[in-house]
Amino acid sequence: MEDADILFGIYCPPHPQPLLSPDASEGYAKLRQAFDTCRERIESSDADLIIVYSTTWPSIIGHQIQAHPEPEWVHVDDDFHYLGSMPYKFRMDVDFAECLADSAKERGLHSRTIAYEGFPIDTGSVVALKLLNPDNRIPACIVSSNMYSNRAETIVLGKAIRDALAKQGKKAVAVVVSSLSNRMFTEHIDPTEDRIHSSKDDEWNRKILEFFADGRLEDLSQLSREIHGQIRVQKVVAYKPAWWLAATMGQHNNYDGEVLAYEALHGSGGAVVTLTPSSGSFGDKEFDEDDVEFYHGDRDVLDKGML
């Protein structure tokens, strides 16, 4: 099979300030500028499709894929409702969504497309698509983040996306919507006084950004469990964005990385980063965990009399 064509990847934050209140602080304005730079790069690329994996769209029934051709609503964030509403109308690549659902099933994942009027598209996806693709010039595909899934499932999901791209011969930009450190301040703050919640979070974020700048995406993928333990609030079982992005982009370290902005968003680490496949390699780390091609589900150790 022909290989998948990912033109470049983007890592960007989910919170709505860069969209709704970019002028409230210098940091938010810089994040907004970085989003704008990414938008221009997408516009000048010949991408056929934008694929979004958003950590603010949790699912339970396997992996959900947005497949309404023109989802339209007015979204309001649970915490930041006072910053304003986010009316949206997007254009989805329904053909690709269906192909991806099939490709995911072929790799053992439970997956389904979602196409309902009024379906609540999450804050992260709305912010990313409104800023990166405001005129819907390119159709998009949004995939959920299953709250129980761990590394194997997430890696296999990335590979299923590559399968679907190869099948359809489409060129894509892969967008992962996630904070770095995700601990926010638990009180309302003056945006001009926003900062990363702690020095520890800041130091870890900067280390991660060094990896990004060096194009070492697969190394970050291998470090995901450590990152989860160190700087992620334990809302879900694992830090999955680097797994997803690395698997979707081909599991290597050969990228030109560019950190366009790194700023605090109510205490969390907001970074806009691009990764473009290149020929030079930083060299691979020795990988500790097995690669996985097919998802076999839970191992059901209790049912097999192993205790």
Partner: protein
Amino acid sequence: MPKGEIVLGCLAPHPPHVVYAENPEQNEPTSEGGWETLRWGYNRLARKLKSIEYDALVIFTPHWQTYIGTHFLGLPEFKSKSVDPVFPNIFRYNYDIKVDVDLAEKMREKASEHGIITKMMRNQDFRVDYGTITSCHMLNPDWDKPIVTISSNRNAHYYSAEVMNEQAAALGRACVEAIEESGKKVVLISSHSLSHRHFVSESPLPEDMSREHIYNHSQYVWDMKLVDLMREGKMKQLIDILPEFTEQTIGETEAGGLTWMMSAMGYPEYSAEIYGYQSVIGTGNLVAAWDPSSVTREIVL
């Protein structure tokens, strides 16, 4: 003005499946039923509520998750469509909800006095969460009483289940002060399942009851432990072991609703009314109520 009071506390789980199974006109998808043990229990509790005089339903919901304080709905009416992000195939509900903004503001004020970070939600485009809608629909399908919705601050994520317990208890104490000062008769609703591990796949017909069972026996045993304590009227003891329950069963109690309600009701030492227990897509769901009046309190099941 006479002092306001809590006239009933309800544990009201919100899997959208129960609304789907009831086939109300507000919900777009239709079903062949399902989850009767839970629904019939709910129906009976709804009949009891009809016989009680009250002014408002106050609901604490896990599906309005806030990390920056506790938020309260702060506009008199919300009218829109709620589509469940996880089960959109079974829940697309057109709602028209009236809010008791005075009571919500009083609760916010009291919570703030107790040192809790608070915010009124005054964006008219805001969509009311499906937890609120499901629990309120099942308890009061006529929607003839105003509600107050309180968001769940995710202390369990940011700190620990123990800290969540403490903060939810403080919120409960603040809310009961607000209720007493308001002079209103109020029904409290804690909207959540008990054990909360889901199956990650769904049968082709979601209401196919031949496929429904609890996720595993450990979840069931823990759920029954809680039911026993409720029957025995040991709510303080129950709340004390709640952090462990939450951790062991991935309990939806993590949001703090039960702690909030029990704290507001002074940790009842009388038996809870048990209306029904059933699994929904593997999670453990109990409908129960605490009636402060020994005259109307019943042994239901």
